[in-house]
Symmetry: C2
Subunit: 285 residues, 2 copies
C-alpha cells in the first residue's frame, strides 16, 4: 500500500514515510475534521468487527387462561435450524439497539411498543456463542399488553409458550413442545434445547423481573393500561411460582400502593366490584 498518496487533491496535507507516521499525524496534529476524513477512508475496515444482534424476551399474560407466556420462534434456517429461539435480529446502521428491539418486536409480533416498555438486560459476548462467528447480542426484556397474533411472521413459526415456574425450573410449554430450564443456572435440563445461549437470556430476564417486582413493578404492563389488584397478584404469582391466593390481597395492596393510581371501579363481574388501577408513570429510573 502506498502511504504517501492519500488525497492528492489537498495540498495542505503532508506525505508520509510509513503507516505509523501517517497515523500519528492524523491522530495528533491534523484537525479533527481531517482526522475523521482520514479515519473513514483508511481505518474503518482495518480491524475485524463483530456483528451485533438484539434478542428480545417478550412476555405476555393471558387473563382468560391465567398464563404467563414468552414468545419463541422456531428457526427455519441454519444455524440451530428447527430449534426454538428468541426473536431478534441484526442491529442496523443508524439505529440504536433500543430502536432495533422496537423494530424487531413490531415486525415479528405485530405489536407496537414504545421505549417505555423495554429494558436492556445484558450484553452477551462469549466467543463462539454463535457458530457463524463473532456475534455479540444485546438482550432486551419487554412486556406486551395483550396477547397478539400468535401466527409467525417472516416465514418463521412464532408461538407463545406458557411459562410455569416450579422451584428453580421454568417449564416452557406449547402443545407438544416443552422446554425445561433452570433459571438459576441458565441451562436447559430436559426436553428440547434452545438455540444459542438463549436459555441464559431467558433466565436473566426472569430473574431480573423477580428481583425488581416489588420495587419496580413494570412487569404489570403485562396487564395493559389498567388492572385490578387481583390481576396484579396473579401476574406476581407466575414469577413467584405459587398460586395467587397465597399472596395476601391486603398486604399486596399495601406494598404496591405507592406505585399505583386508582382509576375507578370495574362495572361487571362476580362479587364485590374490583377497583381498577394503573401504574404511576412519573417514576424516574
Amino acid at each position: 500500500m502506498i502511504w504517501n498518496n492519500f488525497r492528492k487533491d489537498d495540498a495542505r496535507l503532508p506525505t508520509f514515510i510509513n503507516e505509523r507516521e501517517e497515523k500519528h499525524y492524523y491522530e495528533t496534529e491534523a484537525t479533527e475534521k481531517d482526522y475523521l476524513a482520514w479515519y473513514r477512508q483508511h481505518n474503518s475496515k482495518k480491524y475485524r468487527t463483530p456483528s451485533v444482534t438484539v434478542d428480545n424476551v417478550l412476555f405476555c399474560y393471558n387473563r382468560e387462561q391465567d398464563q404467563l407466556k414468552v414468545l419463541l420462534i422456531r428457526r427455519n434456517t441454519h444455524p440451530f435450524r428447527n430449534s426454538w429461539a428468541l426473536p431478534g435480529g441484526f442491529v442496523q446502521p443508524e439505529e440504536s439497539t433500543d430502536e432495533s428491539c422496537l423494530r424487531e418486536t413490531a415486525t415479528e409480533t405485530g405489536v407496537s411498543i414504545t421505549s417505555q416498555h423495554i429494558e436492556q438486560l445484558h450484553t452477551f459476548s462469549t466467543p463462539n456463542r454463535d457458530p457463524r462467528g463473532w456475534i455479540i447480542t444485546v438482550s432486551y426484556l419487554a412486556f406486551i399488553g395483550e396477547e397478539p397474533l400468535t401466527a409467525g411472521l417472516d416465514a418463521k413459526e412464532a408461538l407463545w409458550f406458557s411459562v410455569v415456574r416450579k422451584d428453580d425450573m421454568l417449564h416452557l410449554v406449547n402443545g407438544p413442545n416443552e422446554i425445561i430450564l433452570n433459571f438459576q443456572t441458565g441451562k436447559t435440563t430436559a426436553g428440547e434445547q434452545l438455540a444459542f445461549d438463549h436459555a441464559k437470556i431467558i433466565s436473566k430476564a426472569f430473574l431480573r423481573v423477580l428481583n425488581k417486582m416489588y420495587h419496580d413493578p413494570k412487569v404489570l404492563r403485562l396487564l395493559g393500561q389498567s388492572f385490578t389488584i387481583t390481576e396484579a397478584r396473579k401476574v406476581f404469582a407466575k414469577f413467584l411460582g405459587c398460586p395467587h391466593q397465597t399472596i395476601d390481597h391486603s398486604n399486596f395492596k399495601k406494598a404496591l400502593r405507592a406505585e399505583l393510581v386508582e382509576l375507578g371501579e370495574k362495572p361487571v363481574g362476580i362479587g364485590r366490584p374490583s377497583k381498577i388501577f394503573t401504574l404511576k408513570e412519573n417514576k424516574k429510573k
Copy 2:
C-alpha cells in the same frame, strides 16, 4: 433442485441461478457444516457491522485522604483530543467483553482484577455517539482495591479524579482539572467536558452503586480484602454525599451484618480496637 452442474472443488454442491436461491439452499437444505462454510465465505463481509468498545468506570478509595476516585485519561488523539475520557478500548476477536474489560484495565492501570470485581453496566449505541462512525460501547463498573500507579500508560495521561457528591452533582477534581456533572441527567454542567457520552456512563455507574449499596455491597471491594466498619461507612458516605458520622455505626452494622464475615481485631490505632471484616463470597447473583 438442479444437480447437473457441479462445482469443481466440491462435487456435492449444486450451482445456483441467483443469490437468493443459493442463500435459501444453504440456510434450509444444506447441512449445518456446509452452511457455516458457505456463510463464512460469502456472508461475513456482506453487512456493515459496528466496532465494539468497552468503557470502564474504575473507582478506587484512598484511606489516607478519605477520597473516592475515578480514573480518567486525557485523550491525546482525535476524536475528543485533549478531552478527559474513561479508559477503554476496542473489543478484540476471540474475547468476551468481560475479558476486554479486564485486559484494558490491566494494561491501563497496571492492576490485575478478576471477573469478580467487575460488573456490566449498560450498552450504549446511540447513533453518532462517536464521530468516527458506528461504534457501540459496553460499559463496565469496577472497584480497585488500592490506589495503583497514577502515571499514564499507553502514552496517555491517566489520572485519578476525586469524586465528591454534592446533591445531584458529582465534582471530579484533580488539581486544576475539574469536571462537574449531574448524575441524574448524565450531563456535564460546568468545567471541562467529558469525551463521547462518558458523562452518561459515569452517571449510570454512580447511580447503580447508590441503588444497590445496602443490598449488594460489592462497592466495599474498594477497601480491599478487609476493612473496619468505620471504613465501610466512609465509603458509603462518599456515595450518599454526606459526612460519615451521619451514618450511625450501630445501625450500619446491623444492616450489613448478613453480608460480612468477622476476621479478627485490628491490632493498632487510637481508641478501642476495630474489628475487621471481609465480604461474604458465597453470594450467588
